[in-house]
């Protein structure tokens, strides 16, 4: 509702400019904005996930379940569920309505990234360390893991003439990153040999492969439309690609060629990129730099560098662009803070003084004919009241574009009042220069006990048991229900 009042010049800005603030709760290692953009999930070094409210810059919820650093986060489309992957080789699906764990899935290898299916929050894909990626269905009690191929699909001729060595090499490839297309019908996967595979979610077959580089593909992110992809690889080049419309039923994968649109790199300083992100519309690409304090922002129409965001005194790792605002969040490697960049909105002083107008240059004032006529006050008053004859509609709610708006039927996370008291930073205490110790071993770690229960049994039952033990020990850390 504020859009009609905000300065159009401010609204026209679509690229963040200045360091606007920071969020702090523990040592953050990965972040992700919710789809509606009002929440930011931050996975911490100690395995706790913190949900920040972007409107208040406060902590909205804490989720405890991982025992090691959180590697990746993924929101369900309605922002109710959050999937987290940790370095404890687990993926956890969280229900943010009550903060409970819907399901825990263990893996036999480290997880690079885990992404929820856009339409089905009980389905996710995970890229594993030195293993084939898996599509995990957790809709039934026992989670079903299906391995997906990483070997690229080569053209017909190459396939016929393939040497055994090549086949063996292809078989050794593993995927390092997997993401769903916006429709969820396809999975875009990057391999450690620089191939980009498009995998059919239904059949699990590679439909199309493109070799982008000889190096490892580190990260892939698609725009909300799914027609553009940004790829970060270890050869110090950030590539943007045009993808075909994967929802088109007439799409022929045999003739499909994925074209590289831009290659962004810094040839002078030979910078490598920690993490990349698209802007809300895909118009800009932002990347954090390795061993450097800067965020580079390129625009895609010309392929030129438009801005370098600075202000921090530390290297930045994960970078995230807000889903619809010119607002960038990035994680500091050393401090674990989340730094925020936004645009400056200067206060229009004329908004404070209604009888003044801001003019660019002098304007000659032309007096109205009756401006200084003296008229009886009652007359004026009556005339004014008579003029108030328009029909006023104070009820009809005009539909607004679904950016800041959210529907009543959609999920809204409850507001927890004791969230600050439940934690604070007192879990570790400093006992010397650079030395830290946990305050009281075991306190508040009841949630770790059930982590040893292997498999994915009835999580709800475990939750209840866990809640009971927590209540007994007198430290109520999590609100159950």
């Amino acid at each position: 509702m504020n859009l009609s009042l905000v300065d159009p010049f401010v609204l026209a800005q679509d690229c963040p400019e200045v360091l606007a603030g920071r969020l702090r709760s523990g040592h953050s290692t990965s972040i992700r904005f919710s789809h509606r953009g009002d929440l930011l999930a931050s996975g911490r070094h100690d395995g706790i996930i913190v949900i920040f409210d972007i409107e208040t810059n406060g902590v909205a919820r804490k989720l405890r379940g991982h025992t090691r650093q959180v590697q990746s986060l993924s929101w369900s489309t309605n922002d109710r569920y959050l999937l987290s992957a940790g370095q404890d080789w687990k993926c956890v699906l969280w229900d943010l309505k009550d903060g409970s764990r819907v399901r825990t899935v263990r893996f036999e290898a480290g997880i690079f990234i885990a992404e929820l299916h856009p339409k089905n929050h009980m389905l996710f894909v995970a890229a594993l360390f030195e293993d084939q990626p898996v599509l995990v269905d957790i809709s039934s009690d026992v989670s079903v893991k299906r391995a997906l191929p990483s070997a690229p699909r080569r053209p017909q001729i190459e396939r016929e003439n393939a040497s055994e060595k090549q086949i063996a090499q292809d078989a050794k490839q593993t995927s390092t990153v997997t993401v769903f297309s916006p429709s969820g019908d396809y999975i875009v996967a990057g391999t450690n040999k620089g191939w980009l595979n498009i995998i059919d979610t239904e059949t699990g077959q590679v439909q199309c492969s493109t070799r982008l580089t000889n190096n490892i593909i580190v990260f892939v992110r698609l725009t909300p439309s799914g027609r553009d992809a940004v790829v970060n690889s270890s050869d110090r080049i950030v590539r943007t690609l045009h993808l075909p419309d994967l929802t088109d039923p007439k799409l022929d994968f045999e003739t499909l060629r994925v074209e590289v649109e831009h290659k962004f790199q810094d040839v002078v300083q030979r910078l490598s990129w920690n993490h990349v992100s698209f802007s809300s519309t895909g118009e800009y690409v932002a990347a954090s730099t390795w061993m450097n304090h800067h965020i580079y922002i390129w625009e895609r129409s010309q392929g030129s560098l438009v801005k370098i965001l600075e202000g921090t005194k530390e290297e930045l790792s994960v970078i995230e662009w807000h889903p619809y605002r010119p607002f960038v969040a990035a994680v500091g490697v050393d401090s674990g803070r989340v730094w925020l960049w936004s645009i400056l909105q200067p206060q229009k002083w004329s908004a404070l003084a209604p009888d003044f107008v801001e003019v660019e240059e002098n304007v000659e004032y032309i007096e109205r004919e009756d401006e200084f006529d003296i008229q009886p006050i009652e007359e004026l008053h009556k005339r004014r009241l008579d003029q108030e004859d328009e029909e006023v509609d104070v009820l009809t709610i005009e539909p607004v574009k679904a950016t800041t708006e959210f529907d009543a039927s959609e999920f809204r996370m409850p507001v927890l009042l004791d969230i600050e008291a439940s934690d604070s930073e007192d879990e570790v205490v400093a006992i010397g220069a650079g030395q830290f110790r946990r305050k009281s071993p075991g306190t508040g770690r009841e949630w770790m006990n059930d982590d040893e229960v292997v498999g994915s049994g009835d999580e709800a039952r475990k939750m209840a048991a866990n809640g009971a033990t927590a209540a007994q020990s007198g430290t109520k850390r999590r609100r159950a229900g």
Binding site: L5, K97, E388, V392, V394, F406, L417, G481
Partner: protein, 424 residues
């Protein structure tokens, strides 16, 4: 009004005589008892309630309010519904816009020991909350009028209350300078009060998501609070006189505030910047302000016995309606928007209290007085309307909360006095 009106007497000479000077440091030192308030209730173990269930959005609230006149209602009222339906006019395509309304007294809720300063119906329509100069908040069942809770803990009179969007929490602002949250299932206060204002808290509003609270105070500041952390998120350099009213717009992106300096300011929630200032030429003190249900207009009460509807969007803001016919010289009166008319034809009315002991209902567009509700024996300070049903609730200096129900049987019956009110 002699027995300590819950809202300050706001003409200038009065506040010079009776009230601490506006300097913040001075106002602190004048009342040592208030400087370090001690809350007896904070020591109690506050039981947490579960917040299961999706909370209601206020847009839904208004949508229901508009569309569900004929939809299901609580069973206890089914009898009156059937009667109502049988009387409804049959097949007259565009029924004429009603020129008068027929609300009748239904309940008189007594119990407050001093004047009632605010009444609010919860967003889910189940409860009526009233707050008073006697330092208590009372929660009543909106249907039966049964007293559900008396919330005690403030050290001074309470000027304002606000429901959280999920109807589970009430925020209250008091003359003890603090804001408290109350869990209405247990009746217990939240252990951490919101401390920060240097003077009486006059006005409060929850954001539509319930994560923020805006407060206006006699110390001339408007604070935006992070509800979860109970800390001031942003201070809006608002006014140069005590702030009378604050409100959030429907989607939470705008805040409106008004003050005794006669200014109404519209703020951007996200940046804290003033986007618009509305001022009427004779600068009458503005004591209360409210966004319209669709968020496109602002309704403001001024101490020149006028209520003005402002279009704050177009141009530099324009007063488009002036509602007159009530008396408002001293107290900060409150009111609300309501709807009337046979569904699906919905018209809006403005309801306000008046110092002449009545409640006045105006049609929004024509500015005609639709009804005057008589019954209170003192100035009516607060009026609120039910989100879905045709119920008006009011409170005033006569220490009562009154519930008024719409009488569909038109005007042929003489008004029936309160039948099942819980008199105490």
């Amino acid at each position: 009004m002699d027995d300590s009106p819950p809202k300050r007497y706001r003409s200038d000479e009065d506040h010079l005589e009776d009230y601490p000077p506006r300097k913040r440091s001075a106002s602190r030192s004048t009342s040592p008892s208030n400087a370090s308030p001690q809350y007896t209730l904070t020591e109690r173990p506050a039981r947490r309630h579960s917040r299961a269930g999706d909370s209601e959005d206020d847009r839904k609230y208004y949508r229901d309010r508009r569309g569900s006149r004929s939809r299901s209602r609580p069973k206890s009222r089914s009898r009156s519904i059937s009667r109502r339906r049988s009387r409804s006019p049959s097949s007259t395509p565009p029924p004429p816009k009603p020129t008068e309304l027929h609300y009748q007294p239904a309940l008189i809720l007594g119990g407050h020991k001093k004047g009632v300063s605010a009444v609010k119906i919860s967003p889910d329509g189940r409860w009526i909350a009233s707050c008073s100069a006697d330092c208590t908040i009372k929660i009543w069942d909106a249907q039966t009028g049964k007293l559900e809770h008396t919330l005690e803990g403030h050290l001074a009179g309470i000027s304002t209350i606000s429901w959280s969007p999920d109807s589970k929490i009430i925020a209250s602002g008091s003359d003890d300078k603090s804001i408290r949250l109350w869990d209405i299932t247990t009746g217990q206060p939240h252990p951490t009060p919101f401390i920060g204002h240097h003077n009486y808290v006059y006005s409060l509003a929850f954001s539509p998501k319930g994560n923020m609270l805006v407060s206006g105070s006699y110390d001339e500041a408007v604070f935006l609070w992070d509800v979860r952390a109970a800390r001031v998120m942003r201070s809006l350099p608002a006014h140069s006189d005590p702030v009378g009213g604050v409100d959030f717009v429907r989607d939470g992106t705008l805040i409106v505030s008004c003050a005794n300096d006669g200014l109404i300011r519209v703020w951007d929630t996200a940046t804290g910047q003033c986007l618009r200032t509305l001022v009427h030429e004779n600068n009458a003190p503005v004591t209360s302000v409210r966004f319209s249900p669709n968020g496109k207009y602002v309704l403001a009460w001024t101490l020149d016995s006028c209520i003005r509807l402002w279009n704050y969007i177009d141009g530099k803001g324009k007063c488009i309606k002036t509602y007159q016919g009530h008396m408002n010289k001293k107290y900060s009166l409150g009111g609300a928007f309501g709807t009337y008319g046979p569904p699906p034809y919905q018209y809006a009315f403005v309801a306000s209290g008046s110092e002449d002991k009545s409640i006045v209902l105006w049609d929004v567009s024509s500015k005609n007085v639709l009804q005057r509700l008589e019954g209170h024996t003192g100035a009516v300070l607060a009026v609120d309307t039910h989100p879905t049903e045709k119920i008006i609730v009011s409170g005033g200096l006569d220490r009562t909360v009154r519930v008024w129900r719409y009488n569909e049987d038109a005007s042929n019956q003489p008004p029936v006095a309160a039948t099942n009110g819980t008199e105490t």
